[in-house]
Symmetry: C2
């Protein structure tokens, strides 16, 4: 790996300032007086170092540098720093398709695996933290449905020629190491005995064991894993949980697409919806004096419904708008009547819905019995109470994974969630 | 395209001899006396020039040169000569996996798009010609099931790591122009009005029109086209019809994998089985005095059954043999009981069977109402009789495409074929 790391040096707060001074694409954002820069390391993710840089004149940006290993595990779990290249590509492509919900990239340095991008100023916070705090975001469903509809539609064969598609697919095959991490932690480890799996023990010991012994579940997961590895449907974010979204009351910004590659659309949609369902099931653990979180739970469920329904509407609108474009999946000369177009769209959306439910369920399961948990549950101090919340979420996920094909719309999903919540 | 053609010159029988003399990897196969070479151009395919080269000492090889257009259409339909590169890659990979049924590559010259390979000597003939002549090949099912099981299994995620897989997928994305040709002529043109479509007119005018107006058929075809474009399941041959197989009584050799890429396995299996079904339905047109072809039709049906059943057995045997290898689709640590392994294999093979039936049916349809027809039918001089044969084949294909999921084994397919044949 020596050659791969040529030109690379890990920066710290001090050497970063020198780097900025010698990089006009960055320093131009900060005005004349670079000596009064504030630099703060804030990376709370698992993989990278993240610095917020603010100049005396108010100019600012974020610097994200990938190191050749997984930060939260240490140098023992190596991970190509080339992920920063794919993150920068995805930010730029998704950003050009949906500039309102993707931070702007100012600078990318491939040997240094370093991205300089728009700083999302306070009061932006990570959506997951807002969900734990019980904050409603009235525009969240509107914004996320726009983001998903636009990034997925415009990078699919509904819009693109197969010529463009294959060229892009080939490029993103290079992000294989990050794909492999997902394959392992989402589709494999929760279903077998591995040391780094964990769960709220002893309460969930039997539940974790039941997951590992559930043949139907494992057969469904095999199908989803194959789809994840084999199906290049669109340029997906690849890690679209509620920790990859920053929000204020009127802004929604999707960050951290380092897992981006050409994969199944349902993986992104499912990640987002699945993490909202996790947030829902965690609320009982956050209920306290004066706030039983009941109305907040209703808001989360409403947001799930609106996100899917708006996504579907917007995706189909884009399809109708571009049906005589370069997209090669459904040529207008073949799908040439309004009736047939509606049939084709219904079938496509129904399949996508089932994919999203399956992937969403798999993402839920891995957050309860796999290596990486979510703060929604982790922040519940009482282990017994936490386990109760997690068990309901796990049962919901298992049901969705195995029975998803009997659902034809999002409303019955909400009824099923409510029923499991009342157990 | 000037740069892409740098170093390229189209050879003829004379300049080829000079080329051979200056290329040791070729001339070494021919002994000392190169002056008495016999060179014969025999390309009867659609895309290339093919020369048989034989030396006085009996040494021999075949030279295949791709030109930057489709030979049978002319220079107006350009087609990257880089297809020869992918053909050479596929011949070498499939050849190393299944040397008994793939000709050996002696030499590849990328700028010249020229492959030198083993000459398959007489009495080798193209299988399609043997099927038209009514010749039985007792080992055909045994050989083709081995070829398909080995080439598909060993290039899939049942055997490979996702690291190898993504690297190979990226490489073969370069063969996009050939993929696009398939997308157009198999999945698009038969279902819309385009000038180069043809059929046995006027007899099949209504049948061709019915194909273009069949919503259920077109919805199924859209699903198959998406799978063809998006699903990188294994390194497939990409054009495995009975014209891509050379046979004798005891030898079966698969040639011409210039359409090779990472696609759905069912496309290869379906191409072969679908073309056998076409051969079956064409037999009534070849029946004559003293040979009603009835026993030959039975042999074709038996070959279809044996090919699928043997393929299935061999594929599962390979899976069992390598279940603790590097393949990442079904990790032994997860699929950890004999019962679960059997369930996983049944589900996998059932899905693959339905894919093969769907793709096979699509390949049948395009040979009857699309641009490129098959000699099985073309060789029937009486247009009315030919149309009757083609209509039965077309009806069979439409049924298979729309109803394939109700079949769980190959025997009921044979019953359905027989029923349609008796109409």
């Amino acid at each position: 790996m020596a050659a791969a790391n040529e030109g690379f040096r890990a920066l710290d707060e001090k050497s970063l300032v020198e780097y900025i001074k010698s990089t006009p694409a960055l320093s131009s954002h900060l005005g004349e007086h670079l000596d009064g820069l504030t630099v703060k390391e804030v990376g709370d993710g698992n993989l990278n170092f993240v610095y917020i840089v603010v100049a005396p004149n108010g100019g600012s940006f974020v610097i994200k540098q990938a190191l050749p290993y997984i930060r939260c595990v240490g140098e023992s779990w190596s991970m190509t720093k080339e992920r920063a290249y794919f993150e920068s590509l995805a930010l730029r492509q998704h950003g050009s398709l949906c500039p309102d919900h993707v931070p702007e990239v100012y600078h990318f340095d491939r040997p240094m695996s370093l991205i300089g991008m728009q700083y999302l100023k306070p009061p932006h916070i990570i959506l997951r933290k807002g969900l734990i705090a019980g904050v409603e975001y009235p525009l969240l469903a509107v914004h996320m449905s726009t983001y998903m509809a636009r990034t997925l539609f415009f990078t699919s064969l509904l819009y693109r020629s197969t010529l463009e598609h294959k060229r892009e697919v080939a490029e993103f095959c290079g992000n294989v190491e990050l794909c492999r991490l997902t394959e392992q932690v989402v589709f494999s480890d929760p279903y077998r005995v591995v040391e780094h799996n964990r769960w709220t023990s002893p309460y969930l010991d039997k539940d974790a064991e039941a997951v590992r012994g559930d043949n139907d579940l494992k057969l469904e997961v095999a199908g989803l894993k194959s789809m994840f590895c084999e199906r290049a449907q669109a340029l997906i974010h690849g890690d679209l949980h509620t920790g990859s979204v920053m929000v204020t009351a009127d802004s929604t910004q999707v960050i951290d697409p380092e897992f981006a590659f050409y994969g199944p659309m349902g993986f992104d949609i499912g990640a987002f919806l699945g993490n909202l369902i996790l947030a829902f099931f965690s609320q009982d653990g956050h209920a306290g004096q004066g706030n039983d979180r009941e109305s907040y739970k209703q808001w989360i469920l409403k947001t799930i419904v609106e996100t899917w329904n708006l996504f579907q509407d917007k995706f189909i609108s884009l399809w109708n708008e571009h049906k005589d474009g370069n997209g090669e999946a459904y040529l207008l000369s073949i799908y040439n009547t309004p009736e047939l177009q509606v049939l084709a769209q219904k079938k496509y959306m129904n399949d996508l819905f089932h994919d999203a439910l399956g992937f969403g369920a798999a993402k839920m399961i891995r957050r309860i019995v796999g290596i990486a948990h979510v703060e929604d549950f982790e922040a519940i101090p009482d282990a017994s109470k936490r386990a109760d919340c997690e068990r309901r979420a796990l049962n919901c996920a298992k049901m969705l994974l195995k029975e998803r094909r009997r659902f034809q719309a999002i409303d019955p999903i909400i009824s099923a969630i409510k029923e499991i919540a009342s157990t």
